[in-house]
C-alpha cells in the first residue's frame, strides 16, 4: 500500500465526516433524541432531521459502492475490506439492542461522541471512557458467543 496517500485519504475522510456531523447538528444529543422521540409526532414536536442526514449519506455511499464493484481494489490498498460475515444471529441482535438502549439514554452514538471533543460538553470524557471500556469488554467476549460463525474481519 502506498503509505502517504493512504493516510491522507483517512485524514480527508475524517475531516469531512466531522464536518458533516457538525453541519447536520448530529453533534447535538438533544436533536438526536428529538428524532428518536416518536411520542412527539402527534403533538407536532417531532424533529425528523436525522432521517434527512442518513438518507443522503446512504445515497452517496451507495454510488461509491457501485463504482467500487467495477474495480478489483481501492486506489491505495490491495483489496476492499468488506465485512465477511453475513450471519444474522443472537450476537448481532443483542449488540444492536444494547447499543440502542445506550443511544436512547444519551442521544450519543460513537461518531458524535468523538466529534464532541472539538467543543467538549461537561461529562463527555466520562461517556468516552465508558464507551472505550465497553468496547474493550465487548472485545473480550468470545467470537463464538451468540454467533453462527466467528467473525474474523481484517
Amino acid at each position: 500500500m502506498t503509505r502517504l496517500p493512504y493516510l491522507a485519504t483517512a485524514a480527508l475522510s475524517g475531516v469531512l465526516f466531522g464536518a458533516g456531523l457538525y453541519v447536520s447538528q448530529m453533534v447535538d444529543p438533544l436533536k438526536v433524541l428529538r428524532f428518536l422521540d416518536f411520542t412527539a409526532i402527534a403533538s407536532g414536536g417531532w424533529d425528523p432531521s436525522l432521517a434527512f442526514v442518513i438518507g443522503p449519506a446512504i445515497i452517496v455511499m451507495f454510488v461509491a459502492v457501485r463504482l467500487g464493484r467495477r474495480r478489483n481494489a481501492p486506489l491505495f490498498d490491495t483489496h476492499f475490506h468488506e465485512p465477511k460475515t453475513k450471519q444474522i444471529d443472537l450476537r448481532l441482535i443483542l449488540g444492536a439492542a444494547l447499543f440502542g438502549i445506550g443511544w436512547g439514554m444519551s442521544g450519543i452514538c460513537p461518531g458524535p461522541a468523538i466529534s464532541l471533543i472539538a467543543f467538549p460538553p461537561e461529562g463527555i470524557w466520562l461517556f468516552l471512557a465508558a464507551m472505550l471500556a465497553g468496547s474493550y469488554l465487548g472485545g473480550m467476549v468470545p467470537a463464538t458467543f451468540g454467533a453462527k460463525e466467528a467473525i474474523q474481519n481484517d
Partner: protein, 150 residues
C-alpha cells in the same frame, strides 16, 4: 417542528456520505466509527490510520464550527449532554457511564453503529446491517419513550 432543519441536515449527510465514499474507494475501508475507535487497541499495524481518522474527525467538527458558528451546538450554542429523566433520582455521571458502556459494548459485539451499519451497511445492501439498524433504532425509540428523557 421548530428545530427541524432539512437543508443543513441534507448537506451534512452528503458530507458524511462523501467521507464514507472516499474511505471506501481510496482505502477499501468501512467508515464505521465504532469499529475504527474499537480497533485502536490493541495497537496493530492499522492503528495509525485509525488514529489519524479520529483526530481528523474532531478537527473537521472544530473547523466547521468556527467557519459556520450560526448552525448551533458547537458554534453559537454550547454543547451540553442530556440529563437523566427527572424523578428517576439517578446521578448524571452514573447515567452517562451506563450509556457509554452500553454504546461501546453493544457496537463492539454487534459489529457496528449508526455509521458502519446505518450508512455503509445499508449502502452495501447488507441484510445483516438492515436488521441491526431496525433493532437499534427500534430499541432507541423505545428507550426514549420509556424514559421520557426529551
Amino acid at each position: 417542528m421548530e428545530s427541524f432543519s432539512p437543508l443543513s441536515a441534507a448537506i451534512g449527510g452528503s458530507l458524511i456520505g462523501l467521507a464514507a465514499a472516499i474511505l471506501w474507494l481510496g482505502n477499501g475501508r468501512i467508515a464505521g466509527i465504532s469499529g475504527i475507535f474499537g480497533n485502536l487497541l490493541p495497537a496493530t499495524h492499522s492503528a495509525l490510520w485509525r488514529a489519524i481518522f479520529l483526530v481528523a474527525l474532531i478537527a473537521g467538527a472544530w473547523v466547521t464550527a468556527h467557519l459556520f458558528p450560526q448552525l448551533g451546538v458547537g458554534g453559537v450554542k454550547t454543547a451540553t449532554l442530556v440529563p437523566p429523566p427527572a424523578g428517576w433520582n439517578i446521578p448524571m455521571p452514573v447515567w452517562l457511564i451506563a450509556a457509554g458502556l452500553l454504546v461501546g459494548f453493544g457496537t463492539r459485539i454487534g459489529n457496528g453503529c449508526t455509521s458502519g451499519h446505518g450508512v455503509c451497511g445499508l449502502a452495501r445492501l447488507s441484510l445483516r446491517s438492515l436488521v441491526a439498524v431496525a433493532v437499534f433504532f427500534g430499541v432507541a425509540i423505545l428507550t426514549v419513550t420509556v424514559t421520557g428523557i426529551v
